[in-house]
């Protein structure tokens, strides 16, 4: 194999990678526009859209009235005329006023019209907890949207994925809920900025991009137990795997990346190998995405399992005051406790 051209690798944090990805998408396609509360001059409360208003102007970076249903609803109308609106919901806990628009309109218009209409709206949501915030600013909402067909739900865990996946989400003809692990905005990493552009500019790029965005990634190989996570919990699982290794337990970590759909092929391959699985997410365990994973692993790999699939996540309660979140959220200790339990079999 000959040496490849040097990739355009830059060091970025996760929030900056989304910013750069948005910029690249806007440069690539003049129909891509951003809308949301405070995303213009302010650059968003997390500064994820910093600089874009200055460079692309009022018409492509739109500060909207303070009404989430109206934001998503008007974005749908724009999409119907060929635009690709990328909506920012300021915090996870404020997506609910738009629930009707997302669930009954955005998710269903393509199906409703038997494919005659497409609404490629991307909804960016800084989600999950761990930043010491007040109420409604730490919610994990993925299960509430994954249950609704027609939406894709993804969450990047690394700057590279953040950079690639935001562009893939924008390129996808389907509506995408893009969940940004806000506590990881400041995580640093190397980002190859060339690859996704090449993918998207190729014939069938949007399809390929959607498919790639929907695939899981083996973040660490192992053989005794599979840790399944996405978004903010991936880093935690990697740390847990590191510690488990010290205890001679070899944990494989799968970064699911996509919640709807789950990449069950990758999941099942791993679980069939290890015979044990622990699912980790911040959302309450009850009726969460971990239940779906556990059920499907059960259905498809029952006779490979040495132990029940364990779930580590939030409790059945509203997200508590931030002084409690350390205890509320899944932790390395709780993950290792679950690993111990599955390893006992």
């Amino acid at each position: 194999m000959t040496a490849e051209a040097p990739a355009a690798v830059r060091s970025m944090n996760l929030g900056g990678a989304i910013n750069a990805g948005l910029r690249a998408a806007m440069e690539r396609d003049p129909k891509v526009l951003l809308m949301g509360e405070d995303i213009g001059q302010l650059g968003g409360v997390f500064r994820v859209t910093d600089g874009l208003w200055k460079d692309f102007g009022d018409h492509r970076v739109i500060d909207t009235p303070l009404a989430e249903s109206g934001i998503v609803g008007t974005a749908i109308g724009m999409a119907l005329r060929g635009y690709t609106p990328v909506v920012e919901i300021q915090f996870d806990g404020f997506i609910f006023p738009a629930f009707n628009q997302i669930t009954t309109q955005l998710a269903k218009l393509h199906y409703r019209t038997k494919g005659k209409l497409s609404v490629p709206v991307v909804i960016r949501v800084p989600f999950a907890g761990g930043i010491g915030a007040v109420e409604h600013h730490s919610e994990s909402i993925e299960a509430l949207f994954a249950h609704t067909a027609g939406l894709r739900v993804v969450s990047p865990a690394t700057p590279q994925d953040a950079y690639d996946m935001i562009q893939q989400a924008i390129a996808s003809p389907d509506p995408v809920l893009f969940l940004e692990p806000k506590a990881r905005y400041w995580d640093k990493g190397e980002v190859d900025t060339a690859r996704v552009g090449t993918q998207l500019e190729a014939v069938g790029g949007a399809q390929a991009a959607t498919a790639e965005m929907s695939r899981a990634r083996v973040a660490r190989e192992g053989k005794d137990v599979t840790l399944l996570a996405y978004g903010p919990s991936v880093r935690l699982c990697l740390q847990s795997a590191e510690l488990a290794a010290a205890d001679s337990v070899s944990a494989e970590v799968i970064d699911l990346r996509s919640v709807s759909p789950f990449d069950m092929e990758t999941v099942l391959a791993s679980v069939k190998k290890t015979g044990r699985a622990v699912v980790v997410h911040e959302a309450p365990v009850a009726f969460g995405t971990g239940g779906e994973l556990a059920a499907r692993i059960g259905e498809k790999a029952f006779f490979h399992l040495h132990a029940p699939v364990m779930r580590v996540g939030g409790f059945h309660m509203p997200y508590p005051g931030s002084k409690f979140e350390h205890d509320y959220l899944p932790s390395v200790d709780r993950i290792l406790d679950a690993v111990d339990r599955v390893m006992a079999h």
Binding site: P65, T74, R81, Q105, R112, D174, P261, D263
Partner: protein, 376 residues
């Protein structure tokens, strides 16, 4: 509109009174001065055909051929008069009762029955006709209309200086819908963005059983003033006045002057849907009062007194109505559901692993019965 209720007939723009006599109106007369008797006959024909179709549809539902029917009876003037004030590139966001609008926009009414028969959720190509699909979630289409209108503006289709080229959006909804958050947010977004959209309220006096007085103490057009845009009340049973007001509003929007609210006061002469029983909540004297104000009869009286509705024209329209009803009946009865696995199509625009897996399972499952059949 000060001091009157939401069902008051005071101060409505009216160009034909309910006995079919022409009333002068300095403001709106210019917007109908172009209309010829041929145009008016065409309005009458459209209203009459819409009604023939509508009555046939109700009986099809009664015969079990449709799951549900939503009649537009009594609202023909509001729909035909306004729709005739639109043309491409205007785009229309209907609610679910605007059969008359569809007809004017060239959608063959016989072809829209798939959704009411339960074979599909929408029936025509929105792009081809400039008419979005029906939306059953009350008010949910209102913000879509506003976003679409903003985008038309960005695309250079508004206030270009060439009035023939410009376009705007019409968004239809009912009196009940005015209470929804989505409709109010749409007004806010439209006003602040100066979006070229005409909100057309068909105040048919009921949201199912609830009279408009449960939604408002004041005329619904007044909602416009809350966001600082013009609001006009028009006699919704006067097709000429509706046309005039809508033309004015469309020119306003198309030329870049921003959104407008029109409230057309009309009356839902039939049931809310074929599932409804209006005898539970309204009086026959009320129904009779509005029967006497039937929008089709009104134009008919006007044309007849002007000796402009020849018998052969009437006979032809009647025959056309029967033919439309017949075609509708036949196409409905003939229409079979597609193959069952069709239900898995178009959930996404690109392959989705779960849908693929479930579809594959389903096909295997179905095939297993076929195998059993064969085995027997």
């Amino acid at each position: 509109m000060a001091g009157i209720g939401p069902l008051s007939e005071e101060g409505l723009v009216r160009l034909l009174d309910h006995e079919g006599r022409r009333v002068e109106d300095a403001t709106y007369d210019p917007y109908v001065s172009h209309l010829t008797m041929d145009d008016l006959r065409a309005f009458w024909r459209d209203m009459t055909l819409t009604r023939a179709f509508d009555l046939e549809s109700t009986s099809l539902q009664r015969q079990g051929e449709l799951g549900l029917w939503v009649p537009a009876l009594g609202q023909e003037a509001a729909q035909i008069g306004s729709a005739h004030a639109t043309r491409l590139p205007d785009h229309i966001f209907p609610s679910y009762r605007e059969h008359g609008v569809l007809h004017v926009k060239g959608i063959d009414l016989a072809s829209i029955m798939g959704m009411w028969r339960g074979m599909e959720h929408s029936s025509w190509d929105p792009t081809a006709y400039g008419v979005h699909t029906y939306t059953l979630v009350i008010g949910a289409h209102a913000p879509h209309a506003v976003g679409y209108a903003q985008a038309m503006d960005w695309d250079g289709l508004v206030g270009s200086g060439d009035p023939e080229k410009d376009g705007a959006v019409v968004c239809y909804f009912g009196d009940g819908a005015t209470s929804q958050g989505d409709v109010n947010e749409a007004l806010v977004f439209a006003a602040v963005n100066n979006a070229p959209v005409v909100f057309f309220i068909q105040n048919n006096q009921f949201a199912i059983s609830e009279p408009t007085t449960r939604q408002s103490k004041v005329p619904l057009a007044q909602r416009a003033s809350g966001v600082g845009i013009p609001g006009v009340r028009v006699d919704g049973n006067d097709v000429v006045a509706v046309h005039a007001v809508t033309r004015w509003a469309m020119e306003h929007a198309r030329s870049g002057q921003g959104p407008v609210v029109i409230e057309a006061l009309t009356y839902r002469m039939g049931a809310h849907t074929t599932s409804d029983d209006p005898t539970r909540y309204r009086t026959t004297s009320d129904e009779q009062y509005w029967k006497d104000r039937d929008p089709i009869a009104r134009l008919e009286t006007f044309l007849t007194s002007a000796d402009e509705l020849p018998e052969d024209f009437k006979a032809q329209v009647e025959a056309d109505g029967k033919e439309l009803a017949r075609r509708t009946r036949e196409s409905v009865k003939g229409w079979q559901r597609g193959p069952v696995e069709q239900m898995f199509d178009h959930v996404y625009g690109t392959p989705h692993a779960l849908v693929q897996e479930e579809k594959a399972w389903f096909n295997r499952y179905e095939a297993s019965f076929a195998d059993q059949e064969v085995a027997k």
